[in-house]
């Protein structure tokens, strides 16, 4: 079985040349669209995700409106060309609904929802290319888009995957190839600054003894990602500011 394959070779490198605790290369850009209130594009390795945020605005379905908080409406979709096989992916299938829900859960943990009663925020994410770690990329992209939209958040919410390579070494940011070859993958969405975990999901059954070390590794990954996102936000703000002359005073 392919599962026997070593994810980390004897000399300590993964199949793509990374070490166990290294993330794939992350590239991101904020404000990629003019139309939405906020938008972002992120690449984690070959996984590419677009996110767009509308709102806060009035609740469309008035019956759902709440007096003390705002509704976060998330919608997840995958482009037909996002995987090896071209496949029509209807919106609202089981997987998308689940993803949307999980995404909502992660964002609800950081958005200061009580500032916007009777209102709604729409978050759309679209996977352009899937190469493992789709959910983390969506969360990270959505975080950037929310920041771009200027919606106040408590802190960043970042997500990352981790697994156990060769049944002993915890390993970060799993690519599609590694997902297929390896065992259970742990997906964690967390607030890296406070260390709170928002969401945790296992792809397969997994012995409890392994959990602490894999979880720790995933949290480390979330922290690393936060640093990168933070840098991107600062650059973006500086860029925006410089075009308006606002940031000139700093340089």
């Amino acid at each position: 079985m392919s599962k026997n394959k070593e994810l980390i070779s004897k000399i300590g490198l993964r199949l793509d040349g990374r070490r166990a605790d290294e993330l794939r290369r992350i590239r991101c850009k904020m404000g990629v669209f003019a139309q939405p209130d906020g938008s972002a594009y992120i690449e984690q390795g070959l996984t590419k995700v677009l996110a767009a945020v509308y709102g806060p605005h009035q609740v469309k379905n008035r019956q759902k409106a709440q007096h003390d908080t705002c509704i976060i409406n998330t919608q997840f979709s995958m482009a037909v060309f996002s995987t090896n096989e071209r496949k029509k992916r209807p919106r609202g299938d089981r997987k998308s609904t689940e993803m949307s829900l999980h995404l909502q859960q992660a964002l609800a943990a950081v958005i200061e929802t009580d500032l916007y009663p009777w209102s709604q925020i729409d978050v759309y994410v679209e996977v352009l290319h899937a190469d493992g770690g789709i959910y983390p990329a969506c969360v990270n992209a959505a975080t950037l888009a929310i920041i771009d939209a200027g919606i106040p958040i408590k802190e960043y919410v970042c997500a990352c995957t981790a697994t156990l390579a060769n049944n002993e070494i915890p390993m970060l940011d799993i690519s599609h190839q590694e997902e297929v070859l390896g065992g259970a993958t742990l997906t964690v969405a967390a607030l890296p600054m406070s260390g709170k975990i928002v969401l945790m999901e296992m792809s397969q059954r997994f012995h409890l003894d392994h959990l602490p070390k894999v979880l720790n590794k995933a949290l480390e990954g979330c922290k690393d990602i936060k640093v990168i996102l933070d840098e991107a936000v600062k650059n973006h703000v500086a860029e925006m500011g410089s075009s308006t002359g606002w940031a000139n005073s700093r340089t």
Binding site: K3, N4, K10, I11, E22, R25, N167, S175, Q177, H207
Partner: protein
């Protein structure tokens, strides 16, 4: 830490799927050379500053870089601690892994050894040596380019040091030299090494056969492309080649789509296939199909050029193969898809001088091998290991090279070593790391232990084992409780208390899988302190046990079952014989005697019930070799004695195993370690049914129960041994019982055919079987005595473990038999005996005879070389007739057995017929010959032993 590098994409297009993968290029990869100022020092590099590779081709010290072909072909040279300071490129390393896993493992062993100074340089992720794959060039060329690029980089990177590329690929070598890289072939390199000693003997001869000399003996093989094409079109078929052990010019190939294996015959049919190879065959038209020859042919060729004797034998073969009703699909090998050559044990034929020698493997399925050596005189006295490199068309024998010598031929130690190696039995000393896992002495039972275990020290428990047994796994008790009920306990050594999951001792035991018993030698699965002391349930000592306790009524019905860990003190460790005497001696009325009697009573009921359900009683000869404890020479060979108590212990072990199997499957539906015995396919029974038919018995094989019944009914008054012979034949029809994790199969496949139970496992021998340790751990979880760990619950891991256990068990069984066979030979040395034997098979030119007294099977040829046979073979009834004497299957014969030691390299039994008397063929009985002389060496032929003594199950292996 975060160091992602710029990346390029790897495109792999196939099946219209576009696969894009990332490939990171790094700047933190070290060259591995000590004291390099440009790289960060790599702690894991074993490259040495002080080691010097002395090769007279180069007048400077140098590091060696190897091409893939050198690693794949010349591992025996590399394993010698001569060439060191070797850099293995990662591209090469990966290719080796893809091409040959065994070689990859051996390479890893060298890499792990610091004194060999090997280092893996990750050239494919290094920023300066990475070369993108281009679509236009072949993978092989790309790998060669990578090797040259990395070597050039090393030369530039460290101008003060020198690097030499060794490759047997001509093109690569020429291009390297053109690119200012010092390069040579391995043969040149080894030849000019200063300290080469006999390294040249170990060079693989793969590329030396290009010079074609003499006539071509074999038809050519088709090219790989032709083979693949042919298979795709259905013209050719793929399968694993199995050589016949009896006839070197015959073999079989199991091919998908054919129920019978496909027969291949003769030089052109076999066409250089070696046992185990995956071959492509062409199947003849049905008109050309023949039946297997049923004759025995041995290859007694002496040199690689002469083939006259083969041609003659091929004629014999042709004459004997007839196209009758027994025809099998027949074909010929047209090409080799994958060689499965291994290392083989054997000896030199020794009848020639010079550097070319013929090697005779111990395994009769393997052809003789031609090797080249400069130490032939020494090697002639040795058992040695040889590997095959190539088999060119012009050579009668494959070409190979000497790997190493094991020791003097005929010495007990050498033979044990050979048996262990041949059967891949891990037998090195336990490492320090393993020994450090052992408990410190004196070992005492603490209060904590007492709290966690049920104290059974006041119960009269005893153990019953073969004499001299020091690894006592099991002990029993039986006592009356209220309402006329009985409490029966089986107490098994609590090995899992001492062997904790994941420790060095655990890994070692898992890899060994079983204790291996050779004559006069035991290779333990766990160190002796555990196997013979702390775990062994010795008489009078307090020990930890895992207990399975039943409440039973007088009819052996189980009313209640419970499992718990306990502390016991066995009152007495008895032998089967002692226990039998205790039971039979009515004057003994102590609790042990009573308990044994009750157990025996219950066991008889259990056994009867089991047989009614269709459990098979099979037979095999298990012999015991009495050794002289001083000289370690066999004194006598005898069939092991069986008592009622053997069967008594066996019944309760079976019952415990079944109870435990039910329990662990309940709690672990996915990963319970169980044991199944698959129902053999009907064709397996052909020899049995055929033999039965000729004797007038109808052997029913549709289910185990009918088989058991028809075996019971197959009795003839004039040949009491016949039934045993039939059962022995039935044993050979069976498949191997195997371990498996419950989650991998459907429930109906859990069935144990031999025992006729739906569920079975091994629980009762954890000292000598690793499967039992796993079962103990599972059971401990179910009774809350222990906790789980990841691998225990991982179906995949359990499945891998089972594969290893099954493999090791099979090998251990074969090793045990091989050891007995060798010692039987040793026993017969210089003796001349007349023995009672039985005909196992009637062949066209020979009789296969079994001598139950020694468990020995030998061949009596009916035709001597160059003579015409006085025997007539009747194919209808499978009999041989001479005058008025007719030989049927299972007929008793008296034969003279002599070990022919005229050629010390190749001892074999010669068998002569004594009775029935056939003028001109038989010899007169020894007793007559020796009348008046002293009777040294000759023993009266044993009367047939009581059948019950010989009919039995091999308790340790068959279950």
């Amino acid at each position: 830490m975060f160091t992602t590098k710029s990346f390029i994409k790897k495109n792999k297009i196939g099946n219209f799927l576009k696969n894009v993968r990332e490939h990171y290029i790094r700047d933190d990869i070290s060259c591995g050379v000590p004291n390099c100022t440009k790289c960060k020092a790599e702690a894991s590099s074993f490259l040495s500053e002080t080691h010097i590779n002395k090769c007279s081709l180069y007048n400077f010290n140098h590091f060696v870089i190897l091409d893939t072909n050198i690693i794949l072909d010349q591992m025996d040279v590399l394993e010698e601690p001569v060439i060191s300071n070797v850099i293995i490129l990662h591209t090469v390393y990966k290719e080796v892994k893809n091409r040959s896993l065994p070689i990859y493992k051996r390479l890893n062993a060298i890499l792990d050894n610091p004194s060999r100074h090997f280092y893996v340089f990750i050239n494919d992720h290094h920023q300066d040596t990475f070369i993108p794959e281009e679509d236009s060039i072949l993978i092989n060329d790309h790998n060669d380019r990578c090797i040259r690029a990395a070597t050039s980089w090393y030369i530039k990177h460290l101008p003060a040091n020198h690097f030499v590329l060794i490759t047997d690929d001509n093109k690569n070598r020429q291009l390297a030299i053109a690119g200012q890289i010092p390069a040579c072939t391995i043969a040149e390199y080894v030849k000019h090494l200063e300290n080469k000693s006999l390294l040249e003997d170990k060079l693989s001869r793969k590329d030396f056969h290009t010079e074609s000399k003499g006539k071509e003996i074999f038809p050519p093989h088709l090219s790989t492309a032709q083979l693949l094409n042919g298979i795709k079109q259905g013209i050719l078929h793929q399968g694993t080649f199995r050589a016949s052990k009896d006839n070197f010019l015959e073999g079989f190939i199991n091919v998908e789509g054919f129920t019978d294996p496909v027969l291949v015959q003769g030089r052109s049919g076999l066409n250089r296939a070696v046992d185990g190879d995956i071959v492509a065959i062409e199947i003849f038209k049905k008109e050309q199909w023949v039946s297997p020859s049923e004759i025995i042919l041995e290859d007694d060729g002496v040199s690689e050029e002469q083939i006259e004797d083969v041609e003659e034998k091929e004629k014999v073969l042709k004459n004997t193969t007839v196209q009758d009703s027994e025809i099998k699909p027949t074909g010929k090998v047209v090409g080799i898809i994958r060689r499965k050559w291994k290392q083989y044990c054997g000896i030199l034929q020794g009848n020639s001088d010079g550097v070319y020698q013929i090697f005779v493997p111990a395994n009769r399925s393997i052809p003789k091998v031609r090797i080249e050596t400069r130490q032939a005189d020494f090697l002639k006295t040795q058992k040695l290991i040889v590997t095959i490199d190539a088999w060119p068309r012009h050579s009668r024998y494959p070409h190979g090279h000497f790997v190493r010598a094991l020791g003097r031929i005929g010495s007990q130690d050498t033979e044990n070593e050979v048996v262990l190696l041949e059967h891949d039995v891990p037998h090195s000393q336990f490492s320090e790391e393993v020994l450090s896992c052992l408990p410190k002495l004196p070992w005492i039972i603490t209060e904590e232990d007492e709290k966690r275990r049920v104290d059974l020290r006041d119960i009269d428990i005893c153990s019953v084992d073969p004499p001299g047994c020091t690894d006592i796994d099991d002990a029993l008790h039986c006592r009356p409780i209220k309402d006329g009920k009985l409490e029966v306990g089986v107490h098994i050594a609590d090995v899992s208390h001492f062997i904790r999951p994941g420790t060095a001792i655990d890994l070692e035991a898992a890899s060994r899988a079983t204790t291996v018993y050779l004559v006069g030698k035991r290779i333990d699965m766990v160190p002796e302190l555990l196997s013979s002391n702390l775990c062994s349930l010795r008489g009078g000592e307090e020990r930890f046990a895992f207990s399975c306790v039943w409440e039973m009524d007088q009819n052996a019905n189980i009313l209640k079952t419970r499992f718990h860990k306990s502390i016991i003190r066995s009152r007495r460790a008895m032998t089967y014989e002692e226990a039998q005497i205790t039971i039979d001696d009515k004057t003994q009325t102590d609790s042990i005697a009573e308990s044994l009697r009750n157990l025996n009573m219950l066991a008889k009921i259990l056994k009867r019930r089991r047989r009614e359900n269709g459990a098979l009683v099979l037979a095999s000869t298990e012999v015991k070799i009495l050794m002289d404890s001083e000289t370690m020479e066999p004194l006598d060979v005898e069939v092991k004695k069986m008592y009622e108590t053997n069967s008594m212990v066996e019944e309760f072990m079976l019952l415990a195993n079944i109870s435990v199997a039910e329990k662990i499957l309940d709690d672990f539906p996915d990963c319970a370690m169980l044991r199944r015995h698959p129902t053999p396919p009907a064709t397996n029974f052909d020899p049995l049914v055929k033999a039965g038919r000729h004797l007038g018995f109808d052997i029913q094989i549709d289910c185990g129960k009918n088989l058991a019944e028809s075996l019971d009914n197959a009795v003839k008054a004039d040949n009491p041994y016949l039934n045993t012979m039939l059962r022995m034949l039935a044993t050979r029809c069976m498949l191997q019982a195997v371990y498996f994790p419950s989650g991998t199969l459907q429930k109906e496949d859990f069935y144990h055919y031999g025992l006729a139970v739906p569920l079975y496992t091994h629980f009762t021998s954890p000292i000598r079987r690793y499967a039992d340790i796993i079962v103990h751990r599972l059971l401990a979880v179910t009774c809350a005595a222990d906790s789980t760990y990841p691998d225990l619950l991982d179906k995949q891991k359990s499945s891998e473990l089972c594969q290893n256990l099954n493999y090791r068990n099979r090998m251990a069984q074969y090793a045990g038999r091989a050891s007995v066979a060798f010692n039987t030979h040793l026993f017969f040395k210089g003796k001349l005996n007349d023995e009672q034997g039985y005909i196992l098979y009637v062949r066209k030119n020979a009789l296969q005879i079994l001598i139950p007294k020694y468990g020995l099977e030998c061949t009596m040829y009916l035709v001597k070389k160059g003579e015409t046979s006085i025997f007539e073979y009747d194919e209808e009834t499978i009999t041989q007739k001479a005058g008025d004497v007719v030989f049927h299957t299972f007929d008793p014969v008296l034969i003279r057995l002599k070990l022919d030691s005229s050629n010390i390299q190749h001892e074999k039994f010669t068998v002569q017929l004594v009775e029935p008397h056939i003028p001109g063929f038989s010899v007169s009985p020894l007793a007559e010959l020796q009348e008046g002389m002293n009777e040294e060496g000759a023993k009266p032929v044993n009367e047939r032993k009581r059948k019950s003594e010989e009919t039995k199950k091999n308790k340790k292996n068959k279950k």
